[in-house]
Symmetry: D2
């Protein structure tokens, strides 16, 4: 990972600001011969799109992706795939107040500190708008992973209300506006979000991402561990403040007899009796589901006035109007799923480079 | 991060197995003219050293580091610094049982799956023995960071017993064998660990790492975020299962009014009223303390027999004898601190490359 | 250098095919606060532009570059700079013959071998059209280098006719269509090229690139040598078959007394009596002019029929019609200059990262 | 390539100075299961070893390589391979003269400029002693390439005396001390070198390196071109001043009808009628022999006094005594061969990562 490039074997480089002409990205290292077109990418972008429900920002962006290179007659050529999405609803307005003040919890202060000035329109490069291209890149990563590997993500907590896991239904995730896998919980969350927004506030959330169907052997030891790559990828999502694998932080309170996933033979094949390690052992995929959770902080942009300072050194009370998500964790769901897809596709290519195989030694 | 190399601008490449002749590493990209010698590194290694108390593995290793290159007349030359530590207490014994069985929670099964076979002596490359070189690398990173930046790490939870934060004393961390910042908590933990070990079990833990004195501006947006780098670095530590920054997972249950750190002027200088963001805003250091927590799973190697399978496809009950840490989180404390030092030194060099400055634009 | 990305500290990633909708690139790692706009880039693109004289391809492309990100109020922000050039004269014609045959000296055969198929329209990704973005990237690199460093490039040989060096005039390079630093030689070359084109043939050339004003200290030892970086960069230009530094291949026939550049004091400052090393000693800039030469092969696309084979395994006689440069070395001149600019900007950032300085230790 | 690390998919990181305790390196990314031991590496080191004939430096180094990690029971494990060679004949002597003066043609002046000071003993990091580890790394690269690919290198010119190519005999290369493929030329060269050394002088040379048996498809377009990688690798060898592929600089004087390698069918398989492109088309291997030539400058360390300056600003006449090669091109032969092996192994892994194949699409 190098500033604006993600991945080593499969590389996604993104560019663009919230209120520029467009945002975009380049996917390099993609295998040739894979089916790819805009229609395969668009559904993932639609899931992340702003303005799709009252629980997310009301900025209206069709987020229509264009593929400008790297595809010929419907197939990837092995050359860089250029992706472009126009910014259509970038409001031209008076930015003088934002330009001179530091919004609490935002990158305004640190960008000025690092670069000496900043593109303040809509947060510029620090805007979560950049994540649209991650989602597009994730759709390409899925084509590399193939049908054998399935990915899913859901919101599992809003505020202090966890989802009812006994009622988990993946189909439900696509039915409600909150990526909630339990219909009843979704209703409770909607009410709570409504109140939160009305009161000029916002709230945090937890996202869970799961990948199934991995072979044994993806990832690498030491610094290239699959879980280390995942942690870096997930924490690079705007507003992410924590990431855990398998039992995660709960592992701290567990004993060795509880945590270590025992193995048995099922139908003469190796099987695990639990998955506290979240599908990764020693940094390498074990064939079990990859289980990741991400903590997302509450949106920093809120109507309720907060104390802050201006660029020229005065104290102010700042109320952020604009169009903002009351719970930025919602739209982080498809983004987190895309980042996991990108990590796994990268790991697949690493494994191929070093071993010449797609899967385990014994699957050769 | 590329398999066995950590960092982009400052790069640490490590090598070696638990029971080979030696372990070592190479630090590349180090600025010239810094004071460096073995005596500056050794204290950090001593803190991580096995056999130093009854709460850690009884393997006896002096862990004397040798600098083989990159230093001339006591100063770094700007050329690669080669570090070497001999393995002295690698027991030559009968490994046939380990060779043929997969220890639950270990990399045995996944290494065989990825590579087709493995160096099973003491876990080979998957052994936490590799982390000694991380600690040595971290000591070099500290020289790059200079005196202005201070780092500290402590154990803040063992099992379900958190430290008494009202009684936090950094001096205490160096006094007890558990890196515990509260003397009373340390006694409770020692008793619990004693029982745990006696019962052939192990337990998880949480480590907290803090860095103070950073300028505003280190880190980069998007994929090079300082917190993303930290998350990847921390999760690459053996047995790590979770990482969080600032309020971390607790942020999920917070509202925007609670979480967003308000700013004021103190003595005419910008100041924050809280630090829920853990010293990072938009991926870039804000000048506040960097606060990181890592969840460490319980040692998988326990005396209590666990179900597992053999390489040739039979079910077994496996009791791991050997010399193992009952709480691997203890020795992870200096390792986590070293990883944070390496990330920060890398970020310092990134900032210099792009801006030509060590600190904030207004400190020029 | 990683497939479609050039550079480590300053990174240019390019994308696009000869006959796609557009070509483009992303410059990442650029320092903030530099003046940048399309007008600063365009003159360099105009120098490389096709259709500008009868000696180059007659494809008409205005090559108007658009900056889509990374610049705010006329200054670079430190964020990725997205560059885009539309393809306007990509002829829609019958490609069936090209699609099925391998043009000698081209990438047709090897692309099919590597990827299984190829975008055959105008050579797809293998077309020198990609070099327009290198030229745009080079213009940005110049802004990073600043006014102190000046770059120039010229054609010094066409066929077996070297330029008359005794008559070298940098101003002349911009006056004729051949980047020739001698007006008389230019006339001879023009006549020769006219004949060559008429006879359905093409010819090779040698380009010389010079950079002045470098401080002492850019570059790095071993694999990061400044001359190694230059060699890789130059050889990545389409049709390049050789690269040399300073005396280059002539050094093979020299003795140590002739070659080693002696040093003296001039006005109390270190000075060299010759520059056989081309401004690089031990991989690091010596403050002398960087002198590089590149051999360019004759255009492979010629009217004269050549023997070749088809994709489906038949022998053919192939005459390449289309619009092609009779001497591809001409338009390689601004491309080579751009690549040297990119290498030097990368080296400047490397030097800053490691030493915290822009120049020599004694200039601090 | 990143300062002291070579390669992207297969990475060699080297360390060590001429007069330190040892030199060494780490090979990362190596496929598992390959046969490897010291005996496989040693013959290549012996070919490069100093003191092996009167035509090379008289420093006596056994150059016995030790493998410290990454190999288990005679096979590579897929983990980093640590290589170490002790420095045994590093003379402890009075370096005060060297410490204070800048040897013409050496890195003394530029190292001081970049780093502020230098390890002056035997040239420190700038010494060609580092190339021993390249040769060891090249031996590992050969194991990755396998038996199908063969590499050879020879000296083809010393001073202005080219080898008699009509009399080329690969077997002869191993028989004489000069890696000369013609017995008669070898005798002429030996006489000339004897005179050159006696007169306190040195001379340049040209090395040719050839690789056979490559599949079609290794390499990548644009910046990852196989010939660009080779050019960077070769130019990183100490004293290299030029590199060319196939016809190289001679291509400048050729026409398109002469240069473009025509294709025919031989035994129903694609075949080329010439190899002016040196086995690379569009940056990707064509299946023909890879042909590379490197220009090596005359040794800068000569007995004949040369003008130079001291660190503290005085003019001097410098005669370099010590133990030096009269023609450093000789020992560059095995080094160049090793670098080509490293590039090709890297390209093999790149090709596998992206395509999942070792060879051409039609060889699947």
């Amino acid at each position: 990972m190098s500033d604006n490039t993600f991945g080593k074997y499969l590389r996604l480089t993104t560019w663009g600001e919230s209120h520029g002409l467009a945002i975009g990205g380049v996917v390099d290292g993609c295998p040739p011969g894979l089916t790819l077109n805009e229609e395969l990418i668009q559904p993932f972008l639609d899931a992340r799109r702003p303005g799709s429900s009252k629980h997310v920002t009301q900025r209206k962006e069709p987020d229509q992706v264009q593929i400008l290179s790297g595809v010929f007659e419907g197939l990837t050529t092995g050359h860089p795939i250029s992706l472009l999405i126009e910014n259509q609803d970038a409001k031209s307005k008076d930015y003088s107040e934002i330009a001179n003040s530091y919004r609490p919890g935002h990158a305004d202060y640190t960008y000025d500190g690092k670069y000496g000035f900043r593109d303040y329109r809509g947060g510029g490069r620090s805007s979560a708008r950049e994540t649209a291209i991650r989602v597009a890149g994730g759709a390409i990563a899925r084509q590399i992973l193939g049908d054998q590997i399935s990915l899913g993500a859901a919101l599992v907590q809003i505020g202090n209300m966890p989802v009812d896991r006994s009622n988990w239904d993946w189909a439900e995730v696509k039915k409600n506006d909150l990526f909630c896998p339990c219909a009843k919980t979704a209703i409770k969350w909607e009410e709570y979000l409504h109140k939160t927004r009305k009161s000029g506030n916002s709230v945090g959330a937890i996202v869970e991402i799961i990948a199934s169907g991995l072979p044994i052997g993806w990832g690498a030891p030491v610094y290239g561990k699959l879980d280390a790559m995942i942690a870096g990828a997930i924490m690079s999502i705007p507003a992410a403040k924590g990431v855990e694998i398998g039992a995660g932080f709960a592992a701290a309170a567990m004993t060795g007899t509880e945590h270590a996933d025992e193995m048995v033979l099922k139908n003469n094949k190796p099987a695990f009796l639990s998955n506290n390690n979240g599908g990764v052992l020693g940094g390498i995929s074990s064939g079990q589901d990859i289980i990741v959770r991400m903590a997302v902080k509450p949106t920093s942009s809120i109507l309720t006035p907060r104390r802050s300072i201006t660029r020229d050194g005065n104290e102010i009370n700042l109320s952020t109007k604009g169009r903002h998500d009351p719970c930025v964790g919602i739209r982080a769901v498809p983004v987190a799923e895309a980042m996991l897809a990108l990590v796994l596709a990268d790991a697949k290519l690493q494994h191929r480079a070093q071993t010449g195989r797609d899967g385990a030694a014994w699957d050769k």
